[in-house]
C-alpha cells in the first residue's frame, strides 16, 4: 500500500495551538463556558423535563455541568460521578457543599457504586468519558445506567470513537493526526516513551459497536448522530486509502451523540412497522423451527440429537440419565420456578433422572416415597394413608404420574396436603387431558401389572380430565396450571402447582 507524504495540513497545526490544557479545564471559567456549550450544543437540543428530576452526570469532572443545570433549572437532585474527585479541588472556586444536599458526588466508577437506588434517576448525562473505559467497563457502566434509570428515563451522551482523528489521545504529543489508525499501539507507545510520555488507554470501539452495546443493555435509541472528522483532510485521505473496506460513515466518524430511553415495558410490548402491538412472544415463536433445534437434556446436558428411540417414539430417552419427555418437561418448569436448594422435599415415586436432578440442587432433605419397597427409597408408604410421615414437615412435594395410579386419589391428595408446611407447594403432572372429563379405567392392572395390583393396590385407575383434576385439587389447595413441553418429542402436558395456604 502506498503512503503519501506526511505533510500535515497547516490548518490542523494551527488548531493544535488553540487546544485547552488539562490544567485550564480545572478552572471555573472554562467549566462554565464548557457547560453552556454542552447545553446549547447537545443536551439542550432535547425538551427535557428537569423540574424536580434527579439528574446524574457520569464523568462529571468538578461538576460544572451539574452546577449549570442547578442554576438554570429546578432539578430535585444532582449527582456526579468521576473516578477522580475533581470537585474537592479549590481551583474551580465552587463550594458545592453550601448548596446543601442538592448535590452529591461519588469518586468512583459508576458501575461500582451501590449507594444510588435502582430506578431512582430521571436523566443521565455523559460527555466524552466512555472512550477511556475498557469495553467491559463500558458495558458495565451502560448496564448500570440502565438499572439506575426509572422506566421512561433517558440517557444522553456524547462519546469519542476510535476512528476520531484524536481517537487515542495522542494529539498533544504526536503531531500526525489519525496516528493510531496508521500505526499500531505498540509503535505509538514506543514513540511516546522516547518522548517521556505515557500511553493513555482508550478503547477501540467504533460507532456501530457503541450502538450495539446500548441496545444490548436494553435501551431504545431515540436519536443517534455521528459527528464526522473534518480535520486534516490530507491525512484523512491516507486513512481512507488504508481502509478501503470500511464505509466513510463509520471510518470518518469522530464522535457519537445518542439519546437513549429505558423503555416503560421492556418485557412485553414491541411494535412493528405496521403500528400494531405485537408481543415479543408472538414475534419470536412464529419463527420456531423444530427441525433446526438442538437442545440438551436438562438433567445431564446430553444433546437431544443423541436421544434414543423408546417404545416406537423416536428421540425419546436420554441415554445418559434415562430421562423421558414427561420428566424433562416437568424438570424444566421446576428449574425456572422453584429454588430447591435448602428445601425439604417429598417426592412420590420419582424416576431415576428426577432423583438425580433434585439431588444435585441440594435440598435440605429429599425423601422419596413408594408403596413398594424400592431400593434406596427413604419411605415405603401408601400416600393415601401415611401416619408415619409427620404433618407440616415438607416445603415441596412432587407427584408426577402418581395420582392416576392411586386407588383413592382424594385421600392421597389430602395426605399430601397434610405433610406440607403451610405455604408449601405440591406439583402434579400425569396423563391429563384438556377438553374432556375424567374417565375411570376398566382394567387397572394395565400399567403396573396384576401382582402389584394384588399386593399393593396400585394400577391405572383413571385418566384425568384437566378441569376435573383442577376441581379436585382445589378442594385442598390454591392451584395454578401450566403447560410443559419437551421439544425433541413434541410432548406437551399440564402441570398443576398447588399451594397450601398459610392459616
Amino acid at each position: 500500500m502506498s503512503k503519501k507524504s506526511s505533510n500535515v495540513d497547516e490548518a490542523y497545526l494551527q488548531t493544535r495551538s488553540r487546544w485547552v490544557s488539562p490544567k485550564e479545564k480545572e478552572k471555573q471559567e472554562w467549566g462554565e463556558q464548557q457547560a453552556k456549550k454542552l447545553w446549547d450544543g447537545l443536551y439542550g437540543r432535547y425538551s427535557l423535563k428537569l423540574e424536580g428530576s434527579t439528574v446524574l452526570d457520569i464523568g462529571c469532572s468538578w461538576g460544572y455541568l451539574l452546577k449549570f443545570i442547578g442554576e438554570h433549572f429546578a432539578p430535585g437532585k444532582l449527582i456526579g460521578t468521576d473516578v477522580n474527585p475533581h470537585w474537592e479541588s479549590s481551583d474551580h472556586g465552587w463550594d458545592y457543599a453550601s448548596e446543601g444536599e442538592k448535590f452529591q458526588f461519588f469518586a468512583s466508577d459508576l458501575s461500582e457504586i451501590d449507594q444510588i437506588a435502582e430506578q431512582s434517576v430521571d436523566l443521565i448525562l455523559c460527555t466524552s468519558v466512555l472512550q477511556y473505559m475498557t469495553p467491559e467497563k463500558v458495558e458495565a457502566n451502560v448496564a448500570k445506567a440502565y438499572n439506575l434509570l426509572k422506566p421512561g428515563g433517558e440517557m444522553i451522551l456524547r462519546t469519542r470513537v476510535w476512528t476520531s482523528y484524536i481517537g487515542a489521545d495522542l494529539h498533544r504529543d504526536i503531531t500526525l493526526p489519525y496516528a493510531h489508525l496508521l500505526y499500531s499501539e505498540r509503535e505509538t507507545a514506543e514513540v511516546l516513551k522516547r518522548k517521556g510520555k505515557m500511553t493513555k488507554y482508550l478503547n477501540w470501539l467504533t460507532a456501530n459497536t457503541y450502538l450495539i452495546i446500548f441496545t444490548r443493555a436494553g435501551f431504545e435509541i431515540l436519536d443517534a448522530r455521528r459527528r464526522m472528522n473534518n480535520n486534516a483532510p490530507k491525512i484523512m485521505e491516507r486513512v481512507i486509502e488504508e481502509y478501503p473496506w470500511i464505509s466513510p460513515e463509520e471510518l470518518l466518524c469522530s464522535e457519537l451523540e445518542v439519546r437513549l430511553i429505558r423503555p416503560f415495558e421492556p418485557t412485553l410490548v414491541e411494535h412493528n412497522n405496521s403500528g400494531s402491538d405485537e408481543g415479543v412472544e408472538e414475534v419470536i415463536k412464529d419463527g420456531f423451527d423444530e427441525e433446526r433445534s438442538e437442545f440438551s437434556c436438562i438433567v445431564c446436558e446430553t444433546s437431544s440429537t443423541d436421544f434414543e428411540d423408546l417404545n416406537g417414539v423416536p428421540d425419546r430417552r436420554c441415554p445418559e440419565c434415562g430421562s423421558v419427555e414427561r420428566t424433562r418437561g416437568v424438570l424444566s418448569w421446576l428449574s425456572s420456578n422453584i429454588n430447591i436448594s435448602g428445601l425439604e422435599v417429598f417426592a412420590v415415586a420419582p424416576s431415576g433422572s428426577a432423583t438425580r436432578f433434585i439431588s444435585e440442587l441440594e435440598p435440605a432433605r429429599f425423601d422419596r416415597c413408594d408403596i413398594r419397597p424400592l431400593n434406596g427409597f427413604e419411605i415405603q408408604a401408601d400416600i393415601s394413608e401415611m401416619p408415619e410421615v409427620e404433618s407440616d414437615s415438607y416445603d415441596f412435594a412432587m407427584a408426577i404420574k402418581v395420582l392416576e395410579h392411586c386407588a383413592n386419589d382424594h385421600q392421597a391428595i389430602s395426605e399430601l396436603r397434610r405433610i406440607l408446611k403451610p405455604g408449601g407447594r405440591l406439583i402434579v403432572n400425569g396423563d391429563v387431558r384438556g377438553g374432556t372429563t375424567t374417565q375411570e379405567v376398566d382394567e387397572p392392572t394395565s400399567y403396573y401389572g396384576k401382582e402389584a395390583f394384588e399386593e399393593y393396590n396400585i394400577g391405572t385407575f383413571r385418566r384425568y380430565g384437566l378441569e376435573n383434576l383442577i376441581e379436585l385439587l382445589s378442594e385442598f389447595f390454591e392451584v395454578k396450571t401450566y403447560e410443559v413441553e419437551d421439544p425433541p418429542t413434541g410432548y406437551k402436558g399440564f402441570l398443576i402447582e398447588c399451594l397450601k395456604n398459610i392459616g
Partner: protein
C-alpha cells in the same frame, strides 16, 4: 459452515468441512503452505490441521481448542489416534496459558467461527498473541461472524426472526427462552445471562479491522460476507436498525487477511 453437533465427531464430515474452508477461505490469498508451521485456533477435533498436513504439505500443523474434542473422537473412532499422526499437535486450554506454545512461532494462523465468542479483552489478547507468535511476514487468516450475523447468538435455534439479538434486548430474549422453551443451554456458553443467547462480542466488520490494526497487523484484505437477510426484513425492523452503518449491518461474517510486517517500520513520522 462448521460442524453441527451430531456431525462433530465424524471423520469424513470433518474432512468435508475442512475442504470447504480451504476452498472458500484459505486458498484465496495464494499462499505457499508447503513446509510451513501452522496453527488453527478453535480447531474442534483438528480436522483442518489434519487436512493441511495431508493436502497442503505443511511441515507441522497445530490446533488449539478450549475443549479436547479429539479425545471424544477416540470414543467414536477407535482407530483415530491423533498422537500417532506425525507432525499433528493438538492442544487444549486457554491459548495464553498453554506452556508448550509459549515459545512457538508459526507461519500461518487460521481461525474459523471462534473469535466472535471471545469477550473484548480476551479477543484483543488473542490477536496480540497471534501477532507475537507469527514469524515476520507471517499471515493470520481469520473468519468470524460479526454481531450482525443473522444467527447472532445462535438464536436461529429459537426463531426465524433475523437479528433477534439486536431487535430485542438480552433480558427479553432470556425471558422468552426460559419461559417458553425452558431449556438449559449446553455447556458454559452463556457468560452474560441465564438464558439464550450464547455470548457474542459486539464486534462489527469495522471494529475487527480497527482492532487488527491496533495490535500491529497490516490489513491485507477484509472480505465481507453477506448477512443473508432480505431487504424486506431490514425494512420490517427499520426502527431498530436505522442508526447502524449499513455496510456493517449487512455484513454477517468477515474474513480478515492479516500480515505481520516483515521488518520494523520507520517511525520517524511520529517523532515530529
Amino acid at each position: 459452515m462448521g460442524l453441527q453437533n451430531k456431525d462433530k465427531y465424524n471423520y469424513s464430515k470433518g474432512y468435508e468441512v475442512a475442504e470447504s474452508h480451504w476452498r472458500n477461505t484459505y486458498s484465496r490469498v495464494g499462499l505457499d503452505w508447503h513446509d510451513k508451521v501452522t496453527l488453527d485456533f478453535g480447531c474442534n477435533w483438528g480436522y483442518l490441521s489434519l487436512y493441511q498436513l495431508e493436502n497442503l504439505g505443511v511441515a507441522e500443523a497445530h490446533g488449539v481448542d478450549l475443549t479436547p474434542h479429539w479425545e471424544k473422537m477416540v470414543e467414536i473412532w477407535p482407530n483415530w489416534d491423533h498422537d500417532s499422526i506425525q507432525n499433528l499437535h493438538l492442544h487444549s486450554g486457554d491459548l495464553q496459558k498453554i506452556g508448550s506454545l509459549r515459545d512457538k512461532t508459526f507461519d500461518i494462523i487460521t481461525s474459523t467461527g471462534t473469535l466472535m465468542l471471545l469477550e473484548h479483552s480476551h479477543l484483543e489478547q488473542t490477536l496480540l498473541w497471534f501477532f507475537d507468535h507469527l514469524e515476520p511476514g507471517g499471515f493470520a487468516i481469520l473468519r468470524t461472524r460479526t454481531f450482525f450475523s443473522h444467527i447472532g447468538g445462535d438464536l436461529h435455534n429459537l426463531t426465524n426472526v433475523p437479528l433477534a439479538h439486536i431487535i430485542f434486548p438480552g433480558h427479553v430474549i432470556d425471558k422468552f427462552a426460559t419461559e417458553k422453551i425452558a431449556w438449559r443451554p449446553r455447556g458454559q456458553e452463556r457468560l452474560h445471562s441465564n438464558g439464550y443467547p450464547r455470548y457474542m462480542n459486539p464486534m462489527t466488520a469495522s471494529s475487527y479491522a480497527m482492532l487488527s490494526r491496533r495490535v500491529g497487523f497490516e490489513l491485507v484484505e477484509l472480505v465481507r460476507h453477506d448477512s443473508h437477510i432480505g431487504k424486506e426484513e431490514y425494512s420490517r425492523f427499520d426502527d431498530k436498525l436505522w442508526y447502524f452503518d449499513e455496510r456493517d449491518l449487512r455484513t454477517g461474517e468477515i474474513t480478515l487477511f492479516l500480515r505481520k510486517p516483515e521488518v520494523k517500520r520507520n517511525l520517524s513520522e511520529l517523532e515530529v
